[in-house]
Amino acid sequence: MALHFELVTPERLVRSDEVYMVTVPGTEGDFAVLEGHAPLMATIRDGNVLVQKTAGAAPETIAIRGGLAEVNARGLTVLAEHAD
């Protein structure tokens, strides 16, 4: 019962983790991804990705710039140009 989350930049694989929920800053508004989300492909704007390890846990913030988010059967992959 976990979402597989990957954050990749051109320079490295920043994060590859099992998490509970991730909030992604989409171009057309933020969206949150839980396990079993429908397949989705969205561009993202500069902003913060919020990662919640477990339900109700304090979210961890990762600032990212430009890119693409994709949800498929294997989980969520965020391709960002830059991540801190």
Binding site: R12, T27, E28, P39, A42, N72, T77
Partner: protein, 296 residues
Amino acid sequence: MASLKALKIRINSVKSTQKITKAMKMVAAAKLRRAQEAAMAGRPYAERIESVVASLAARAGGEGASPLLAGTGKDQVHMLVVVTSERGLAGAFNTNIVRAARRKAEELEAAGKTVRFYTVGRKGRVIKRFYPTGVVADHDLSTMKVARFDEAKAIADDLLARYAAGEFDVAHLFYAKFQSALVQIPTTQQIIPVSVPTRDPKLAPTLSNDGDAAVEYEPSEEQILADLLPRNVAVQVFRALLENAASEQGSRMNAMDNATRNAGDMINRLSIQYNRTRQAAITTELVEIISGAEAL
């Protein structure tokens, strides 16, 4: 025959050369490891973006597609982006890349096309000698210690601006693909318009391989593609920079290893010559003394 002193000086000079080449080899070996790691770390992103572009392009291609995908409809002006290193003494590394580019240029010119060059790195500037008017831009890498994405993006943005201005129709990228420390392959890759790789079903399952499952697009497929294609160019350039960095160090390590070995051989040969000369001198001296004593 060379005098003893001259030989001694020669041996010492070769010895200090050997010290330098040996040090350069070790430095290259250390840098190679880092560059290789960077190239590895860059792979997931490049692979994923490539697979997304491929799957989107297959669907959104056709009429009214972005010029980055469909091309300008012409095939007249070719831009050759030649990525080389800032430093020499790396064996045939730069020569090979430049040669690949020149061969392509000759081929294109024979076919009646116009060829332009965009050089990246100091060692690519030799192209100016063969095509004095063909080089339209030169990107300096001297401030770059490790390949950074920003650098690749700057190059890509410049290229895209020139493409949008109609300066060229097709762009090719030249770099050395890193295979191992011993083998670097000069590679040509078409980056504009994007050449969509034919998907190999045997490849590891990559992103967006869920067949035609109802994937939601936000915004539309076309817009995502429009956002993605320029980014893809930057990614390809970045990959070239990374591969080149690793190849350069591998090539240099190899060249310096050879140089060190050659210097060692030379020192051996010179030492033998030195000893022979020394002994000959002693023998001559002895003969002189003995014959002098006998004459008394």
